[in-house]
């Protein structure tokens, strides 16, 4: 073995043995530094004869190259090991739970969600949203709606009253959203297409009644709107709202003071436990009341019933929410029990749209 070979094997051995970057640097300085063993060899080249240089030159340069290469390789290895060690020390327990944020824990009440669904459907059909105050007077809640004074139909409303004023008049909590029909017809020229969602009140409380509930009414007034249009609007609404391919509805003659003819509407369904499926089955479920606006109501709003005509309907928002989403108990709607709200409520960004679907 020549001296050069020995030198090479010593240096490569030292590189391999270097356990950290500092030791490796010492080996590099010892070999390739100014006074390093390989540098010393390179210095001898200048004093050599051309013949000697021809053979020893490549050998020494080769030695330098191999040492440089081995140093780089060892350096990379050591750097990788150091990084691994650092990373190992930085490890965290990713199974620790993170805190859910608002977007996960917040909820929209089913009533708000259903109002948004109703709004999406009817605004598409060209309806606007009308609203009114909860505290009403007798004129708007009853008289203008063709409830005769003292008529049993008035009594059936279980009205909440306020204390009579000095002039004998007394205000009340609206028993339906219909007063807004009167206010709309008195303030707006036909054609009118509005829906009227809102809170309503009746002095009644049991398993299926709460003293406060939510209604949505619809009103269409123009020169042509008839019962055939009414049926279409309601069927389209129910189909869209319940998100089924088709619904079957049964219109029964009924009575409301403010419509003539008046009808109650049932929808065909199948009940399976708390689940109700629409568009199939043999049960009929009453879901709304409707009719052609009574000529007296039109007259009370300054509209000539021989020129203008139209229809109106009303239904319980709470009720259709219960039917669609299988909510078992009306009273729970107003108890603000977070377990109920978390379970039956809707995620903040579940915005009902016709394009994306009302629910998902």
């Amino acid at each position: 073995m020549s001296d050069l070979d020995k030198l090479q094997s010593d240096i490569l051995g030292a590189i391999e043995a270097a356990s950290d970057e500092a030791a490796l640097e010492a080996v590099r300085v010892g070999a390739l530094g100014k006074k390093g063993s390989v540098s010393e060899q390179l210095k001898t080249l200048g004093a050599m004869t051309p013949e000697e240089r021809k053979t020893l030159g490549p050998a020494i340069n080769g030695l330098k190259d191999r040492v440089t290469e081995a140093l780089a390789a060892r350096k990379a290895t050591l750097a990788g090991a150091a990084l691994d060690a650092r990373l190992a020390s930085e490890a965290v327990d990713v199974t620790l739970p993170v805190r859910p944020t608002g977007i996960e824990t917040g909820r929209i009440h089913p009533i708000s969600q259903v109002i948004d669904e109703i709004t999406a459907i009817f605004t598409d059909m060209g309806f606007a949203i009308a609203e009114g105050s909860d505290i009403e007077d007798d004129e708007h809640n009853f008289t203008a709606l063709n409830f005769p004074e003292g008529h049993p139909a008035r009594e059936m409303h279980d009205t909440f009253f306020f204390t009579p004023k000095a002039d004998g008049s007394r205000l009340l909590l609206r028993t339906h959203t219909s007063p807004v029909q009167i206010r709309t017809m008195r303030s707006q020229e036909p054609p009118i297409r509005v829906i009227i969602p809102g809170r309503t009140y009746r002095n009644d409380s049991d398993q299926t009644h709460t003293p406060m509930f939510h209604q949505v009414e619809g009103l269409v007034i123009d020169r042509h709107a008839n019962m055939a249009n009414l049926k279409w609007v309601l069927e389209e609404f129910c189909r869209a709202f319940f998100e089924v391919p088709s619904v079957q509805m049964r219109f029964r003659p009924s009575f409301f003071p403010f419509t003539e003819p008046s009808m109650e509407v049932d929808i065909r369904c199948r009940r399976q436990g708390s689940d109700i499926r629409f568009g199939e089955g043999d049960d009929w479920l009453e879901i709304l009341g409707c009719g052609m606006v009574h000529p007296n109501v039109l007259r009370n709003c300054g509209l000539d019933p021989d020129i203008y005509q139209g229809f109106a309907w009303g239904m319980g928002i709470d009720r259709i929410a219960m039917l669609k989403y299988g909510l078992p108990d009306l009273r729970a709607f107003f108890e603000a029990d977070v377990r109920w709200l978390q379970h039956y409520g809707f995620r903040p960004l579940d915005l009902p749209t016709l394009a994306g679907g009302l629910s998902n």
């Binding site: 620790l96 739970p97 805190r99 859910p100 608002g102 977007i103 824990t105 917040g106 909820r107 929209i108 009440h109 708000s112 059909m125 060209g126 606007a128 009114g132 105050s133 909860d134 505290i135 003292g150 049993p152 139909a153 059936m156 909440f160 009253f161 306020f162 204390t163 007394r170 205000l171 909590l173 809170r199 009140y201 009644d204 409380s205 003293p211 406060m212 709107a225 008839n226 019962m227 055939a228 249009n229 049926k231 279409w232 069927e235 049964r250 219109f251 029964r252 003659p253 009924s254 009575f255 003819p261 000529p295 005509q309 603000a336 029990d337 977070v338 709200l341 409520g345 903040p348 915005l351």
Partner: protein
């Protein structure tokens, strides 16, 4: 309104079965609410022959019966005293269910003797309260046949909902007429023939009503039948009344009840022996009262119409008779009253006294005036037939009104209102079948409603009659025309903001509640409400008495209830109406959020990542500002001023305003006194923003956003710490620093507030980070120093603080 199928068939000749009848009733607007088909229910119970009944070997009161069921012999142990050899009884076999108690029979042993099935009583069959013995069938009853038809109790009972506009259908005849018009049969009500009076009626009737108020009693017909023999009514009459839930009393009374349901004609019978002198129809007098037939004593209101004799009030007109002059089994001479009363007066009196009677129910809806005299004749005939006696002539006080309103009815009205195309002949046919008078042959005819239809006033009412009988299902849906263009937005600003507010608050982790619009008075008062004008006169419960002035009490109580259920850390919100007065403009939409316990915006409850911090005023402030931002309000334009309404902690609350006159809302921790008033515990932090008060966005000609103002140079941040009095507001420091240089200062943040070691008592160290944004070129050190100097002097001047070295 209840009736039986066979009763209906007294008025309607039809082959239709129960199901068809029921479907048609609903179809024409007489919604079937219930059908009780007792014949089907009682079918398993059949007539048996008791071959032998001998004493039970181990029990004195029991008998062991050998029973022939027609399908074989069984042994039954029976405890009834009337169980005896040779009788015909009713047998419930093993496996059948006893209607009265739902018990399913099984073969058993009673005191060591085998017993299969049961001999039953009327009570066990759900027929009556009779339980003294088992049912005894007639000796000729066929063994093995269902007993119910033989006893006349198999008749299905139909219950319909009659809407208030249809008093005619509060009688079976009216129901039959609608069904006949719907063509499932023919109306066959027997005509009423007058009964000739044999002598003048000895009792007279006078109306002594205030002048001009004769309409309170337009007509009063009366007649005497003398020499009757009253007693239990015949079985057919009793079984009809029982079937619809009425208790048979005696024949005279049962006859009036029968006609009330058969012909919607309430009548009254007085025992003539108990009437002194003439009958007077008048208003009740101060202090008068009436012990009525229902056993209660009614204090009569001054405008109640009564029927009195010389001794006093004998009947509450059109509502209920008096106990003193009522008919009993001893009655020999009976006065029959058939009168007309003012519906509104009857309704008012009935409502005030809280009397619900079949008579009131009909009179307040409208009784057929034309049937006043026929009703009296029908009653007379029944009394003579069932009780015997001799009828007097009829006396009639007043006059039976003949309302005859003729309506011009264009046939095309049906098409105009319903879209349904019908032939005139079809429409005329329907109207005629319902008893309407139709005259004319053109496109417009003259129509008059029958006297029993007080609900028909105009064309629309006639349209309803036609379509409900022809069938609403004949109306084919037609699309409501849609606008040819893409619809314009329709939601108003407040509607958009209400919707957005809910989504924004939910996205912050608050859960939407819907709480009552009414709160207890104490809660209303604690939150600035409680005015007399907003208190309900008839609240459903004492704690739901006053319209809420704020959503806070409802949410706070709800949060406490959740805490009581084991969920102490809740974040709730509501967007809804609040009331500051009783006028429409006093109603506002509030958006209100409330956090309790550890339900902070960072998360709910304890967490390994940090120390649990209970909710505080800053959480509420953050919610409120997030809400305002979501609704398009620039938060930098909103001033935060210390302090809020009295229901907040005075030192931990703030008001959000845009100028001193426009408070948008408040936030903070609730006042301990309010917590006490509401009987709840904290920590609670809440905000309330009145959405109606938020300014509308400025309307702009285009939707283009202003160009982005961004500099090519990096911003620079400089930190300053000031020593200030502790009552100096951070907001004042920020505003002063911000104002020091309008051109370059683009942001001021507070990054530290420190009190304690190194800071003198009563002082605080507040550290600001001020961001400078170079515009055209990088700022030189000298320029930066100059701005920093201006910041220091502005803050020192505004707050009296000093820069900490």
């Amino acid at each position: 309104m209840k009736f039986t199928l066979s009763w209906l068939k007294e008025h309607l000749a039809t082959d239709a079965g129960l199901e068809k009848v029921a479907d048609t009733l609903t179809h024409v607007g007489l919604e079937v609410e219930a059908i009780e088909d007792r014949g089907a229910q009682l079918a398993p119970f059949k007539v048996v022959h008791v071959i032998e009944a001998k004493p039970h070997p181990n029990a004195d009161k029991l008998r062991v019966c050998r029973v022939d069921t027609g399908a074989g012999e069984v042994q039954v142990v029976c405890g009834a005293p009337n169980a005896r050899t040779g009788m015909k009884a009713v047998f419930a076999p093993s496996g059948s269910t006893i209607p009265a108690n739902g018990m399913v029979l099984k073969p058993t042993r009673i005191r060591d003797v085998e017993s299969n099935g049961m001999l039953v009583s009327e009570r066990e069959m759900g027929l009556s309260g009779e339980h003294d013995g088992i049912i005894e069938m007639p000796a000729d009853a066929p063994v093995g046949q269902p007993f119910a038809p033989l006893m006349g109790v198999a008749d299905p009972v139909i219950e319909i909902a009659v809407t208030p506009n249809r008093p005619d259908c509060l009688g079976v005849e009216g129901v039959a007429r609608d069904l006949a018009a719907a063509e499932i049969g023919t109306l066959k009500t027997a005509p009423v023939n007058p009964v000739r009076g044999q002598f003048p009626c000895p009792t007279r009737v006078r109306r002594e009503l205030p002048a001009g108020e004769e309409a309170l009693c337009p007509a009063f017909a009366l007649r005497l039948v003398r020499g009757v023999k009253n007693g239990p009514s015949p079985a057919w009459l009793q079984s009809r009344l029982k079937a619809i839930g009425l208790r048979p009393i005696n024949c005279l009374v049962d006859i009036t009840n029968f006609l009330t349901y058969d012909r919607a004609r309430p009548l009254h019978v007085f025992d003539a022996a108990k009437i002194s002198g003439d009958l007077v129809v008048r208003l009740a007098r101060e202090g008068e009262s009436l012990p009525a037939l229902d056993g209660k004593i009614y204090e009569l209101p001054a405008d109640a119409v009564v029927i009195a004799d010389e001794t006093g009030v004998q009947s509450l007109a059109g509502i209920m008779g008096g106990e003193g002059s009522g008919c009993t089994e001893e009655t020999v001479d009976v006065l029959i009253e058939s009168a007309l009363w003012d519906p509104e007066n009857i309704a008012r009196t009935g409502r005030r006294l809280g009397v619900h009677s079949d008579a009131r129910h009909r009179f307040e809806r409208g009784v057929d005036p034309a049937f006043t005299l026929p009703g009296l004749e029908a009653a007379t005939k029944l009394i003579l037939d069932l009780c015997g006696g001799e009828a007097s002539e009829v006396v009639l006080e007043g006059e039976v009104p003949e309302p005859q309103k003729i309506i011009d009815f264009p046939y095309r009205e049906v098409q105009r209102l319903t879209g349904l195309e019908l032939q005139p002949v079809e429409m005329k046919h329907v109207l005629t079948a319902l008893g309407f008078w139709v005259a004319g042959t053109g496109e417009t005819v003259k129509v008059a409603a029958p006297t029993w239809r007080p609900d028909i006033h105009g064309k629309a009412d006639i349209v309803e009659e036609v379509v409900r009988i022809v069938g609403l299902d004949k109306v084919t849906p037609i699309a409501l025309p849609r606008a040819p263009e893409v619809p314009q937005p329709v939601l108003t600003l407040i509607q958009r903001r209400t919707r957005a507010a809910k989504r924004a608050l939910a996205a912050r982790g608050l859960v939407e509640a819907v709480t009552w619009s009414f709160v207890p008075k104490g809660h209303a008062t604690a939150f600035g409400g409680g005015a007399a004008e907003l208190a309900l006169a008839n609240p459903i419960a004492a704690d739901l008495s006053d319209m809420r002035p704020s959503l806070l009490p409802g949410l706070a109580v709800a949060a406490q209830k959740n805490a009581d259920r084991g969920y102490p850390d809740v974040a709730l919100f509501e967007v809804g109406q609040v009331f500051s007065g009783d006028k429409p403009e006093d109603q506002f939409i509030a958006a209100t959020g409330l956090r309790r316990g550890l339900a902070t915006p960072e998360g709910t409850g304890r967490h390994w990542s940090g120390k649990p911090e209970p909710v505080d005023a800053f959480d509420a402030k953050a919610d409120a500002l997030a809400l305002l931002t979501a609704l398009g309000i620039d938060p930098s334009k909103v001033q935060v001023v210390s302090g809020g309404p009295e229901w907040f902690h005075p030192g931990r609350s703030g008001t959000l305003q845009m100028g001193p006159k426009l408070a948008l809302g408040h936030f903070g921790e609730l006042h301990p006194r309010v917590l006490q008033e509401l009987d709840i515990s904290g920590p609670l932090a809440a905000f309330e923003v009145i959405l109606d008060r938020l300014p509308a966005p400025r309307s702009k000609p285009t939707k283009a956003k202003p160009p982005l103002d961004k500099s090519d140079f990096q911003p620079i941040s400089r930190d300053f710490a000031f020593l200030v009095d502790r009552n100096v507001k951070a907001g004042d420091l920020i505003r002063a620093a911000q104002g020091a240089d309008k051109q370059f200062i683009t942001g001021v943040d507070v990054f530290d507030v420190y009190t304690g070691t190194g800071v003198p008592d009563g002082k605080a160290s507040v550290a600001l980070a001020v961001t400078l944004q170079p515009r055209e070129k990088t700022l030189t050190d000298a320029e930066i120093e100059a701005i920093a100097g201006r910041v220091v002097s502005a803050v020192e001047k505004a707050t009296g603080g000093t820069l900490r070295g």
